[in-house]
Amino acid sequence: QEVKIGVILGFTGPIESLTPDMAASAELAMKEASDAGTLLGGKVLVPVRADSTCVDSAAAVAAAERLVTSEKVAAIYGPDCSGVTMAVTANVSVPNGVVTISPSATSPALSTIEDKGYFFRTAPSDARQGQVLADIVKERGIKSVAVTYTNNDYGKGLADAFVAAFTAAGGEVPIVSAHEDGKGDYSAEVGALAAAGADALAVFGYVDQGGKGVIQAALDTGAFDTFILGDGMIGDSLTQTFGSALDGSFGTAPGSAGDNFAKFDKMAKANGIMGDGPYRGESYDAAALIALAMQAAGSDDRAAIQSKIIEVANAPGEPIGPGELAKALDILAKGGDVDYVGATNVELIGPGEAAGSYRELEVKGGKFTTVRVR
Amino acid sequence: MTGSYLIGDEMTGGYGGADILHGVTIAVDKGEIAVIVGPNGAGKSTAMKAMFGMLPLRAGQVRLGGRDITALTPQERVREGMAFVPQTNNVFASMTVEENLEMGAFIRDDDFSATMEQVFELFPVLREKRRQPAGELSGGQRQQVAVGRALMTRPSVLMLDEPTAGVSPIVMDELFDRIIEIARAGIAVLMVEQNARQALNIADRGYVLVQGRNRYTGTGAELLADPEVRRSFLGG
């Protein structure tokens, strides 16, 4: 028998280049769970994709509505961007009682929405990332930082968190300036940022979007040579483009560097997910959580799934890494307890909030390398 | 008449709705001036357009020099030596007077400066205004540009839809003079006129159209002499 799972991401729109790999990672987890053959006694998870467009909440709600009421999915993986996530949660997930696990909606505002326990996320809130990043900058002895962020709730939230933490620690932020994604030219932003005379430039944007454009313009004009990168900026397309010109730049991304992520990455590559964009691990984990909760509840009923998510995600229980879903399903089938760790060290702090670790990355020799995990 | 150089024979057609023309026949020979008169909305302009291929005909045909040209597009007819000055929208408003005249000579490959000189002689004001966009001219000046443009083609058939509307008497006389000369040079001239008495005066042939039908046909003098025509169509 088949159990449908909604996969709703912005396949078109401003992050359309990230989403194919994210979806594939989530579907990888579903396939792994199904292939185990032990899911609810041999059920198969069937992903049903829908387009969130990342920005158009009306379209996203319509798509989610279709998933829930027409496709009758048991749970939803997604949406991706914080804005549409909020809309889908309020208008579709809560009213219909469907679990929604976003891999990437990181806005701090999502921590406090009225989700009646149906909204989860596998990526931690940006409130923490800002703090972590500020610590790193401070430790590296950088005193003044110019900040630019993508003008949405994610960028703004992260920038606010970073600026607050950094100035509290005695750092100086002479200029904070938003940039719009997908625009043709970022010379104006770079001109203004450069003129403020800071030691480094913090970029809180998207790797394939304005963030990259800003870095390009900054490098071209010689305005900055050290960049501080938020999670959205971590991706190999950045280093492929700029190579060792970025050496010495650093940043953070949710996730553990440890063996778990490497393991996942290998698995993903082996399954044809060739990119290195962010949120692949979180995607895999989000889908895995759905499968495990289902198994723990012993049913693909929507409410039942909801009741078990936290339980399978957190301790106590046997730690489960990526690629070990079969084992976890077995344990659960036998009534045991699991603590899903996954690719990104999943730890849920109640609905709507995930703890999590961050990797501190630095560009060395034109490659992102993990310096340590915090 | 069936042997005339340009003939619109039993033309029937309209703009998509009901027919406007009902079996109208208009003909003109080389060296001749033919004038169409009639009340407003009689279908005079429509007949002209039909002869120039700007209106699909449901029946009838148009022949030029004995050849059936009913199927030709307007620009093909231009290449066959026909020239037309429409009643409205007859200049390139954004182009200068000179460029308007040059467009008249668009299909000519030879040197047309002599023709342009002739046009300037005929309408001296155009020489003054040669660099001004035609859209900024006065109504009568535009009319002169429009006729000048058609003359630039050096056509074998010249069709004019109310060429003298809005031009001052002195220019009208000159225009008619010039038209007589053109006709004498062996060109077939077909025109619609509301200054009907003057026009019929210089016409070899006259047609009175009423409600899309031929009502009277004759030489210019005959029509002028017909009291019924005078009273009903020429203003007494």
Binding site: V94, T112, D153 | -
Partner: protein, 439 residues
């Protein structure tokens, strides 16, 4: 819809209804109702634009800005009152507004007194800059104080704490006020120049809403707006409702969703019908005749004694008010205000497509266009996927084209949308329900 178009109109609306019903059967009633709600809102937006373009030939390329203003109204009306924010920054905001107004009044007075010329220009500029500086002097600290209050969940001035349904007329008022200002400035411009001016102004409105966090949290969004209808969970907890649902053989959760959507649909439909009635009555009156005359030839209309500028301003304001109202309704339905979602493709051009495809100048056409285009916009996604699948299935397994198709499936949405648009325009070039020429 009277006269010769009646049959065509009935057929078109019948077909539209059939489409929605088909979705109800094939996908679900919930999807169908949700779509209906957005269809209704889209129809109102299209009506507003039709009033401007169809009646008067005003090229408003700034629909998005007015929609957003409506949304802003929803926040400012329904959010709870935040006394602490007003204590912190209310005085400063007031002083800033007062100085801006004073400067504007001074400039206006000056311009009336002085003759045009460089002196007047310089004085205007000096006053404007002085006013700006003074306003900023009060404004900046006030904003800082407001934004400092609980920034992660508030940081704005809040609202009036009134029922959100009041924001619909208020949204109309906001948009009307903005339109009045825009119109005063830009209505002297002709067609495409007016278009670029309105486009620019709508971008400016969005920029302000996005960046002025004290107003409505900017890009940090406002969520959890109150509702004019009950929450699904409330219904699910009401014994009466559950019993009723079960007696109809429905799952209570599903039934609650349907009920809520149906209530929204009722409200929206009522608004739509009221506006449609007014619009039709106006169009068929001598007023409508005058507007069509102005659209055809402004110079002649002016020579016939019609005050073209005033009439243009009037329709521009009216149309914008309708659009603003729809904007407030949309935000009400979403339950959140997300300035980042306002993009011209979705909120300006799509509305234009609705009006043109429906039949500009014809109110019923605009409504139909709103329904149809929204339907296609939403259904293009699954349809595109299906198209990709069916074509892919015909191709040999593993062929590169099939591969490309399956990878590109989401983009089929665009292709599908484009195809529909072109097909409709091909077979109904003046719109599905073209403007009727009264004879």
């Amino acid at each position: 819809m009277a006269g010769n178009g009646l049959g065509r109109g009935l057929a078109a609306f019948g077909a539209m209804a059939a489409l929605l019903i088909a979705v109800g059967y094939a996908q679900s009633w919930s999807v169908s109702l949700a779509m209906l709600n957005l269809c209704l809102i889209s129809a109102i937006m299209a009506l507003g634009l039709n009033i401007q373009w169809g009646y008067a030939g005003l090229f408003n390329a700034g629909v998005m800005g007015f929609v957003a203003l409506g949304g802003l109204a929803a926040v400012l009306v329904s959010e709870p009152f935040r006394p602490e924010a007003w204590r912190a920054g209310g005085a400063g905001l007031g002083a800033a507004a007062a100085s801006a107004l004073a400067a504007a009044a001074l400039i206006a007075a000056l311009r009336r007194r002085m003759r045009p010329g460089p002196a007047r220009g310089t004085m205007t500029a000096i006053l404007a800059m002085g006013g700006y500086a003074l306003a900023r002097h009060f404004f900046d600290p006030a904003v800082e104080a407001i934004e400092a209050i609980d920034p992660s969940s508030a940081g704005n001035i809040g609202g009036l704490g009134l029922p959100i349904i009041l924001s619909w007329p208020v949204g109309g008022l906001f948009a009307a006020a903005a339109a009045w200002l825009v119109g005063k400035i830009a209505l002297g411009l002709r067609s495409d120049y007016l278009a670029i001016a309105t486009l620019g102004i709508s971008e400016i409105i969005i920029a302000i809403i996005k960046n002025e966090d004290w107003l409505a949290r900017g890009v940090k969004n406002v969520s959890g707006l109150s509702r004019p209808v009950p929450y699904e969970l409330e219904l699910q907890q009401s014994a009466w409702f559950v019993a009723k649902a079960q007696s109809w053989g429905l799952d209570p959760a599903e039934a609650s969703g349907l009920a809520v959507k149906a209530m929204y649909a009722g409200l929206f439909a009522a608004v739509l019908l009221a506006i449609l009635w007014l619009a039709e009555r106006a169009l068929r009156s001598p007023w409508g005749r005058m507007m069509r005359a102005i659209r055809d030839n402004e110079h002649a209309a002016a020579a016939m004694g019609k005050d073209v500028t005033a009439r243009h301003l009037q329709v521009f304001v009216l149309g914008s008010a309708v659009i603003g109202m729809a904007g407030a309704m949309l935000t009400t339905l979403d339950g959140q205000f997300t300035p980042g979602t306002y993009n011209p493709l979705r909120y300006t051009f799509l509305i234009w497509v609705m009006v043109i495809v429906g039949g500009s100048g014809n109110n019923w056409g605009a409504v139909l266009g709103g329904f149809l285009i929204w339907f296609v916009w939403v259904q293009a996604e699954p349809a595109g996927l299906m198209l990709a699948e069916t074509v892919g299935a015909l191709l040999p397994e593993g062929s590169p084209l099939a591969q490309a198709l399956s990878e590109g499936a989401p983009h089929m949405r665009m292709i599908f949308m484009g195809l529909i648009l072109l097909l409709v325009l091909r077979f109904a070039p003046r719109g599905i329900l073209p403007e009727k020429i009264r004879r």
